[in-house]
């Protein structure tokens, strides 16, 4: 029998794998992809809570739709910025992007 705890544990594991990726990746594209992992962990959590705790209302799923929308917009803008940085500096390593650090 599937319980809420199954989904919570899966979501915790996925979330922290994503956090690890964000903290240790050097390539900015890798950081963006790890962010997608974090968003997906949150989405699993949202849908599971919506299904188990408030089965009559489906607001959790509506929120997931909006999270996916915002994540897509964020990903598009992030990749555009990465491409612009690559054009001007030929590098997209996050630990070498110190042009704004004085």
């Amino acid at each position: 029998m599937l319980t809420l705890l199954h989904f919570i544990i899966l979501s915790i594991v996925l979330f922290f794998i994503g956090i690890f990726g964000v903290l240790t990746r050097r390539n900015a594209i890798g950081i963006l992809m790890s962010l997608e992992l974090i968003f997906n962990a949150v989405n699993i959590n949202m849908v599971a809570f919506s299904k188990f705790l408030t089965p009559q209302e489906i607001y959790g799923e509506i929120f997931t739709i909006f999270i996916i929308t915002v994540a897509a917009a964020e990903s598009v803008l992030g990749l555009a910025i990465i491409l612009a940085i690559y054009r001007s500096r030929q590098k997209i390593y996050a630990d070498e992007m110190n042009i704004m650090k004085w």
Partner: protein, 167 residues
């Protein structure tokens, strides 16, 4: 019972492919592992009877986000060589931060009384209800989301094409 088996299959798939995605040295393989992870998350949505979300997951994440990521990886191809380092020097601080976070979250989960909150389990698909809600109660966020997507589209075009004009 079958749903439990499928849950474990998808969960193992998610965790393994996410770990490979985070630790892979080649960023291109990383994107492919990400696609597998997202596909397995769609499977989890199916197990939760959220069929519409599973469809959205495959269409938007795998169809749009991963493909876009692979495009950008191909456009910045020269930086991924075998000799280039893909990880920074923060692995041990990152692991410490992870440990702290995991302990905090697990404590929070264990302290919560789930049994009194679980209301039940609906076994039917709610796609029609989602459509109704999106166009009635959530119509303003829905329109705001469409404006946001338009802004992101125009912003991405503006950011990427700015450089060419300056040269």
């Amino acid at each position: 019972m079958t749903s439990l088996v499928f849950f474990y299959i998808f969960a193992v798939l998610i965790v393994i492919s996410a770990i490979f995605m985070v630790t892979s040295r080649n960023i291109y393989y990383s994107a492919l592992w990400l696609a597998l992870t997202l596909f397995a998350v769609a499977g989890i949505f199916v197990l939760l009877n959220a069929y519409f979300l599973a469809g959205i997951q495959v269409l938007i994440y795998i169809g749009a986000v991963v493909v876009l990521t692979i495009f950008v990886i191909n456009l910045t191809k020269e930086i991924e060589g075998k000799t280039e380092k893909q990880f920074n020097k923060q692995t041990i601080p990152a692991l410490l931060a992870l440990l702290t976070g995991i302990v905090l979250v697990v404590l929070a989960v264990l302290k919560t009384d789930w049994a009194s909150r679980i209301a039940g389990w609906t076994n039917y698909d709610e796609t029609a209800k989602i459509g109704n809600l999106l166009l009635n109660d959530f119509v303003i966020p829905f329109e705001a989301a469409s404006v946001l997507l338009l802004i992101a589209l125009i912003g991405a075009i503006a950011i990427v094409s700015l450089d060419k004009e300056n040269k």
